[in-house]
């Protein structure tokens, strides 16, 4: 055991609390602002303590919307974000796990070329192919649709690699045993492999849900209709109008609502989150 002097220990606690304060302050300010009167905030007279407009602001945010630039209620945006995040997370897991299954448990002529084709997409993030991808989605008439929001983001080299790596560690005896029991490729996948992958899938889901929920550039490009906006796009449109017209309590309430689901996932499923994060970055 290395020595720990009392003073040093207090110093460590102090630094950590300063860190936590720096990390939490902007969010605290958003929560406080969402409960205050717009006029006070606009005058620069904002108090650092919660005000009394909590219910009123959140009701208006979720069901009515900001009156500035967009009249879309945030409830619709939350629904769009949720559908998109779920489609991206579940879609990525579904198509990756079956590709990995094919690559590990079958031998076919194009096995390795296909593996590399999937792998190289790691190097083609949406930012480097923005407009050509937009054009294809437009040609397929997928603008302003859930399919357009999720399909182009659903391929996943990371998830495929992860499942491939995991399948490689599954003992061969399992396959032989289920073969003796008369199981075909579907039965083996469904009854043996899938239950074994449960933890991996859950860890991956946590990371991919956050990733999907926080998408910005892609939805910004392909949604033109207000009722297809995700919450990340909606919040940006709320502050486009000049300062005086921005309804800060509503904007801040939207910010709080936008971060609530992913933060909740991180805090409640911390173990799975850390596992997923470490595994997907390998």
């Amino acid at each position: 055991m290395v020595e720990q002097e009392g003073l040093q220990r207090y110093f460590a606690h102090l630094i950590l609390w300063i860190g936590i304060a720096i990390v939490a302050f902007p969010v605290y300010l958003a929560i406080v602002a969402s409960t205050q009167d717009n006029a006070a905030i606009a005058n620069g007279q904002m108090s650092l303590l919660p005000g009394g407009h909590f219910l009123e602001t959140y009701y208006r945010t979720i069901f009515v919307g900001a009156s500035g630039s967009t009249r879309e209620p945030v409830g619709t945006m939350l629904l769009n974000s949720f559908v998109m995040a779920m489609l991206i997370a579940l879609g990525k897991i579904a198509i990756s796990i079956i590709s990995a299954y094919a690559i590990v448990y079958f031998r076919f002529p194009l096995r390795m070329p296909i593996f590399w084709l999937i792998f190289i997409t790691l190097m083609l993030p949406v930012e480097v192919r923005i407009y050509p991808t937009y054009k294809i989605v437009a040609d397929l008439h997928l603008l302003d649709s859930y399919a357009g929001l999720s399909l182009p983001l659903i391929a996943s080299a990371t998830a495929t690699l992860l499942f491939r790596q995991f399948f490689m560690t599954v003992p061969d005896e399992l396959l032989e045993a289920s073969r003796i029991d008369g199981a075909g490729p579907f039965r083996f996948f469904w009854d043996t492999l899938l239950p074994l992958s449960r933890t991996n899938m859950a860890a991956l889901f946590v990371i991919l849900f956050i990733l999907g929920w926080n998408q910005y550039l892609w939805p910004l490009l392909i949604t033109t209709r207000d009722d297809m906006q995700t919450i990340q796009i909606g919040i940006r449109k709320m502050i486009t109008t000049t300062d005086a017209l921005t309804e800060w309590p509503v904007v801040m309430a939207t910010a709080v609502l936008a971060m609530l689901p992913p933060v909740f996932v991180v805090v409640v499923m911390q173990k799975l989150f850390v596992r997923g994060l470490v595994e997907t970055e390998k």
Partner: protein
């Protein structure tokens, strides 16, 4: 590496990879190929005819002072964001790594901002530092600083860097903490027995052993600063004032949006592609080495 026992089937494996393959070909390779092709084409002013011009688009682009400035700016932002975020996260991780009471509570309280989306981060920081109503802006003003990021390019850039670094602290903290906890305690104890004080132990023992993590995080942070800052920039400054906060990714977006020059926008995409390939290659070479450590 291959499995010893496999299933025999001619068509089933193709059916299984088909969905992923279709998406990859339609939404990844086709657009990427389009970008490469377009970067060699020049369209006349009316969009009636296109000619193959080899590298003319690239030459024009690299000759533009605006584009050159965007490249320099992107790299400067990346290093500033990485430096600010890595150093503060390392300090916090070293403090949390001590056998303190409530260690897991500290971890929980520090990692959750990872989940906040870049545009929301932007909105939070705009609100704090808005020149007319921001709480922190008021503080700066009372200290005699003429704070107005809407007009002052350096201040706008500082704001972007701070907001982007703030978001990335939790991620770096998590990996630093894992790295610190994997250093064998016996090594640190040995240094302590030799009479090394905490500061010396940190710089001569812990820091070198942590260097693989630092390098890994450096690459990740640069990639983050290149691409994920888009949402922060778009909500805080929109690339302005002037072009003071326009990064390479933001410039592709703006140039394409204005619908100006297809060839030039495609050439910018291809340059970004090359950068991503290089960064990914560095990352993978490094990961290979980390595994054998």
């Amino acid at each position: 590496m291959q499995k010893q026992s496999v299933f025999q089937s001619k068509l089933l494996p193709y059916a299984l990879v088909a969905p992923q393959l279709a998406i990859v070909l339609v939404f990844f390779y086709w657009p990427a190929a389009q970008a490469v092709l377009q970067s060699f084409l020049l369209q006349d002013a009316f969009g009636l005819s296109t000619t193959f011009v080899w590298f003319e688009n690239y030459r024009d682009l690299l000759g533009q002072p605006d584009y050159f400035a965007a490249i320099v700016r992107t790299f400067a932002f990346s290093f500033a964001i990485a430096a600010a975020s890595l150093s503060s996260a390392l300090l916090l991780a070293v403090m949390a790594d001590r056998p303190l009471r409530g260690g897991t509570v500290y971890r929980t309280l520090l990692i959750w901002p990872y989940a906040i989306a870049p545009p929301v981060v932007g909105v939070l920081w705009v609100f704090m530092l808005n020149p007319s109503l921001g709480v922190l802006a008021r503080g700066l003003r009372s200290m005699g600083i003429d704070w107005n990021p809407l007009l002052d390019g350096t201040q706008a850039a500082t704001l972007i860097i701070l907001a982007a670094a703030w978001k990335q602290i939790s991620y770096n903290f998590l990996f630093f903490l894992a790295g610190l906890q994997s250093i064998p305690k016996s090594v640190i104890e040995a240094a302590a027995i030799d009479g090394a004080r905490p500061m010396r132990r940190f710089w001569t023992v812990i820091f070198p052993l942590l260097s693989p993590t630092i390098f890994f995080l450096l690459v990740i942070n640069i990639v983050y600063a290149f691409f994920d800052t888009f949402g922060i920039i778009d909500t805080i400054t929109r690339g302005g004032p002037g072009r003071a906060t326009e990064t390479m990714v933001y410039k592709v977006y703006v140039d394409g949006l204005l619908g100006g020059n297809l060839g030039s926008s495609a050439a910018q995409s291809v340059i970004l592609m090359v950068l991503v390939i290089m960064l990914t290659a560095i990352q993978f070479r490094f990961v290979e080495r980390k595994v054998t450590y």
